[in-house]
């Protein structure tokens, strides 16, 4: 454990460099650069709002554009950070084979760089909230809980995925399908009350991504959080981090033989 902290201290600048690199390279050859972090969710929000209010009848209780944006921002952070973390060890195989650094820094950098972009993209949410005339209440401070929970959860899942992906390359495709299922089960563009029945209630109740989205929305729209979902998602997040860390550290010495 002491060794872990010493190592972290020595290589924390490397972690920073990795995070910087992922953000920099993502927008390197685009004209608008980092503005895309704001523009992209805004555009998808407009498309989804148009589709679901003009084509389908909507029955959301909350303000629909804000409802979509909260769900989508959080979900896309989760899916993008875990997908990138999954590939991170493989993508850095050149480094891993040549120089010693603590290997968990690769998936951690993927998740952290996405988290920073996610936080930046919350600016667009703030703007939409103001434009739509929603008055934030004191409950807005509760948003910190789902925001931290989703980070811990993504770190855990990312470490787990990056380990397994070293041994099985097809995980990348499986995870693409899995995130799609999570998306449809997270009530991003529909209202849960309108679709939930006794038979599918569990799907929302035990989906940690749905839990963080719901509590995030509660904070934005000025409602108290759902206590069960808050505790449950925090528990799942910590458990996934523990599991991810254990699986990763148990297998990391074997990575080099499989890359």
């Amino acid at each position: 454990m002491k060794l872990f902290f010493e190592d972290f201290k020595k290589y924390r600048y490397f972690l920073l460099q990795l995070v910087k690199k992922e953000i920099k390279l993502k927008y390197r050859s685009s004209y608008l650069g980092v503005i895309w972090t704001l523009l992209e969710p805004l555009l998808t929000m407009l498309v989804l709002t148009a589709v679901f209010t003009k084509l389908f009848s909507r029955n959301a209780v909350d303000d629909y554009p804000v409802y979509i944006l909260t769900g989508r921002l959080m979900f896309s952070f989760f899916s993008q950070s875990t997908t990138q973390a999954l590939k991170s060890v493989r993508n850095h195989s050149g480094m891993i084979k040549k120089v010693y650094v603590p290997k968990y820094m690769y998936p951690a950098a993927s998740v952290l760089s996405n988290y920073i972009m996610f936080l930046i993209s919350l600016i667009v949410l703030a703007i939409v909230i103001i434009v739509r005339g929603i008055r934030p209440t004191f409950y807005i401070f509760q948003a910190i809980i789902p925001l931290v929970t989703v980070l811990i959860f993504s770190l855990g899942v990312g470490m787990l995925l990056s380990t397994v992906a070293v041994f099985f390359r097809d995980l990348e495709y499986l995870w693409g399908v899995a995130t799609m299922i999570v998306m449809y089960a997270s009530a991003i563009f529909y209202n849960v009350e309108s679709v939930s029945t006794k038979a599918n209630e569990w799907m929302f109740r035990f989906n940690p991504v749905y839990a963080v989205i719901t509590n995030f929305r509660a904070a934005i729209f000025g409602r108290p959080m759902d206590g069960f979902l808050a505790w449950y998602s925090a528990g799942v997040a910590l458990a996934s981090l523990a599991l991810g860390a254990i699986v990763f550290s148990k297998n990391q010495d074997k990575f080099i033989l499989h890359l």
């Binding site: 020595k10 690199k21 480094m95 891993i96 040549k98 120089v99 010693y100 650094v101």
Partner: protein, 243 residues
């Protein structure tokens, strides 16, 4: 002058050689069900022990596939030994395949920070040495060009310049005494010689007899993963040549 800086104690490295690399789930399950998951075990290093004292310059000799590079990787900490222990004091600088950690889309200047941080240097340290690195690599305006457009010699020059910016306690050399063109070769050789003169401990893999004779004080000979000789450089060279 008898301070031990590196101890390699009974180190073995076991590789699993599959006949076909199974790296997807489908194939793994099929082979698992058919009981075809056979691995051949292969000992790249087999119970190697030696110690290096401060200021020693150790030649590691052996024919191709004898385990020299594996040994260097274990010492550098990239590869974990299956059995045995390694302990060292001070910082190790491996000059193995220079520039392997570069990001091709990053410019030379950006890679100095990336690669430097990877070697465990702090931001302030890299910043203070930045000009020195740029000057030594002598890449001119190419320092702001993505590394993917570099020639292999330019890459190696930049890698060498970054890696040798610290004064290492233990230097690992894998036949990279000469990189780049004639002028840079001279410069890099001089830099390494300066380190030698300062009493840096060196692990040196080479097939070049003259270099070993000239530079090394001690030698070990590896053969199929086993250490068959450990002693003076000259004797090691004789053993290696006779074999």
């Amino acid at each position: 002058m008898s301070e031990t800086v590196l101890t390699v104690d009974n180190v073995s490295v076991k590789y699993r050689l599959t006949e076909q690399k199974v790296d997807n789930l489908k194939e793994y399950i099929i082979r698992f069900l058919k009981h075809q998951l056979n691995y051949k075990e292969f000992l790249a290093l087999d119970g190697v022990s030696f110690t290096v004292e401060k200021g020693d310059r150790l030649a590691i000799l052996g024919s191709n596939g004898a385990g020299k590079s594996t040994l260097l990787k274990v010492v550098a900490g990239v590869l974990k030994a299956s059995e045995g222990e390694i302990s060292h004091e001070g910082n190790i600088v491996p000059l193995l395949e220079l520039g392997a950690g570069f990001d091709p889309q990053y410019s030379g200047a950006e890679n100095i920070f990336l690669y430097g941080s990877m070697l465990g240097y702090s931001k302030d340290f890299i910043q203070s040495k930045f000009d020195e690195i740029v000057e030594f690599a002598d890449l001119g305006q190419f320092i702001n060009v993505p590394v993917k457009n570099y020639s292999s010699g330019m890459r190696a020059r930049l890698g060498f310049s970054i890696a040798t910016i610290v004064e290492p306690d233990i230097l690992i050399l894998d036949e990279v005494l000469s990189v780049g063109d004639a002028a840079f070769k001279k410069k890099s050789e001089k830099k390494i010689m300066d380190m030698f003169d300062k009493g840096t401990t060196v692990l040196f893999v080479s097939h070049n007899e003259d270099q070993v004779k000239k530079l090394c004080t001690k030698g070990i000979v590896l053969d199929h993963g086993k250490m068959i000789y450990s002693g003076s450089a000259e004797e090691a060279l004789n053993k290696y040549l006779k074999k």
